[in-house]
Symmetry: C2
DNA sequence: TGCTCCGATAAGCTGTGCCGATGGATCTCC
DNA sequence: GGAGATCCATCGGCACAGCTTATCGGAGCA
């Protein structure tokens, strides 16, 4: 059985004769006759009674007709469903993003994307650890990744979106020098609040401290997986943290003292994708992202 | 698009890899890859993300999957529906029968047929006139015809089922000779009750009367299309009628006087069908009918 | 009794679906 | 880290399936 054969049968029913049906498809009349005959042989039953000059649907044909119509409708549904995904009126986009990149730049991009393509569901996931952004894209768990990488293994590709400055976030009332830049060495004298090893934030912190003084032994005051606890901890005087600028500014609005570091500390922000063609939604998102650097 | 391609996609989803899917179908892995690739080109979207060694359903593939499964289910439904008709667990059989043949032999045959094949709906229709039995079979309005013909035009075929005697049916109290056979000439002296011209009964009546005396001018007392009125009319003394033996005997049970005619009058009873293969239900009915002559 | 219309059949061709073999990439296991 | 295993894509070649044109046979119609 075959969609083609089914459509031929339906056409014969709808047009009353093989000849008219063949003309409407379009296909030659012998081709149609042969296709129907082949189907009848396969099913083991005549679908039409041949009555000299006219044909008439047989009982078997009547039984066949409705499922056949349904089959053809389903084919159209399948085609349309894919077209919707291609046309971005439907579908889903999976993005894995470092949690410190969700607020900025991800939410802005997703907002614009959703306004442009309201039918496409965007699913944002968090990576297990810093390397998982790349890993999830590689494994297909997500189609796009937003991370702080500046290179990716073979098979993946990368679109740099910009660089993000990291600020020190200090308890309210902390006095700072006039130029308002905080030497890393001074930061290291605060008890520090950070996330566990393996996270991107922790890696950046370690990198900054080593840069300032490879031999220093800074005090880690609090380690927590709960990123949303970091600012409150700082506010409560538990120690200092370093956070991406957007998060730091939000903390400043709550009363925290923030400052860019000296030397300047920043990290790349890039979109990770597999090389090769992306799904339409992912490609549209990528265009949006690279067209709107921050 | 194609049922084959759809089933390939479904197999890949269900088995996780192209290779496993190919083995399960069975088809070679390159054939499966190529078929999926062709479908993807036609739909204008990747259905699977190829991630090195593994594949993963893309958003377009997810959209495609359910309609595709439905399509395959419908194909099975269509196949099964036809198989049911072939296997006589479903379907319909259209029989056109002279009304005087419905009581005997049709109802007995249909009863047995229905007990053998309870799933098959039997539809009994009445012909417009005597010729319409053949005409309805020829036109396909019915697949089988039950009539009093003994030959059919080319394209049709005939199974003789037997011969049916015609009896005179006379009002209660009518005196008959000892041998209880009624000469047609005597019948002609009764006012006669019959159906309109063109019906089989009327034709038989005329034939009988002409046989007895070509010059006679018998009186037609009542002409009615309502066959069920004939026996009551006879009972009411409106005149005499000739009826097939089974109907006549039923009338006798009500008090009518019945008698075979002299010369003996009878008509053929035959099943009319188109030449060539019949639908399974019709063929089964035919076998039943010819195997049980009366 | 031709004439026309319709479906089946015949013959030939083209496209395509399949297979086996091979290549490239990735994952795994020692 | 290297060898093997696994998986998908590509290539070359073959066979079959479906299509087309041409023709036949039968049925309805004037």
């Amino acid at each position: 059985m075959d969609l083609r054969q089914a459509s031929y049968v339906v056409a014969v029913v709808d047009h009353g004769t093989f000849t008219a049906a063949a003309a409407s498809i379009p296909v030659s009349q012998p081709a149609l006759s042969q296709a129907v005959a082949t189907l009848e042989r396969e099913l083991g039953a005549e679908l039409f009674h041949r009555l000299g000059r006219q044909v008439r649907l047989s009982p078997a044909g009547e039984a066949f007709l409705e499922p056949a119509r349904q089959m053809l409708r389903d084919a159209e549904v399948a085609r349309a469903a894919v077209a919707d995904v291609v046309g971005l009126t439907s579908g889903r986009l999976d993005v894995v993003a470092l949690s410190t990149l969700v607020a900025e730049p991800l939410v802005g991009l997703v907002g614009r994307f959703r306004r442009m393509h309201p039918g496409v569901l965007v699913r944002i996931t968090e990576p297990e650890d810093a390397d998982a952004v790349v890993g999830d894209v590689r494994s297909g768990a997500a189609e796009l990744g937003l991370g702080d990488v500046d290179e990716v293994p073979a098979g993946l590709a990368l679109d740099p979106l910009g660089r993000q400055a990291l600020f020190a976030v200090l308890p309210p009332g902390t006095g700072l020098a006039d130029d308002r830049r905080l030497p890393v060495a001074r930061l290291a004298r605060f008890p520090l609040i950070t996330t566990p090893r393996g996270t991107s934030s922790r890696r950046l912190l370690g990198q900054a401290l080593r840069l300032a003084d490879p031999d220093a032994d800074p005090e880690i005051g609090v380690v927590t997986q709960h990123r949303e606890a970091i600012v409150p901890l700082v506010m409560a005087g538990a120690g200092a943290a370093i956070l991406p600028e957007p998060l730091a500014r939000a903390a400043a609005a709550l009363g925290a003292v923030i400052a860019p570091l000296s030397p300047r500390l920043e990290r790349p922000v890039a979109l990770v994708r597999r090389s090769g063609p992306l799904s339409p939604a992912a490609e549209a998102f990528r265009q949006l992202a690279v067209g709107n650097p921050f």
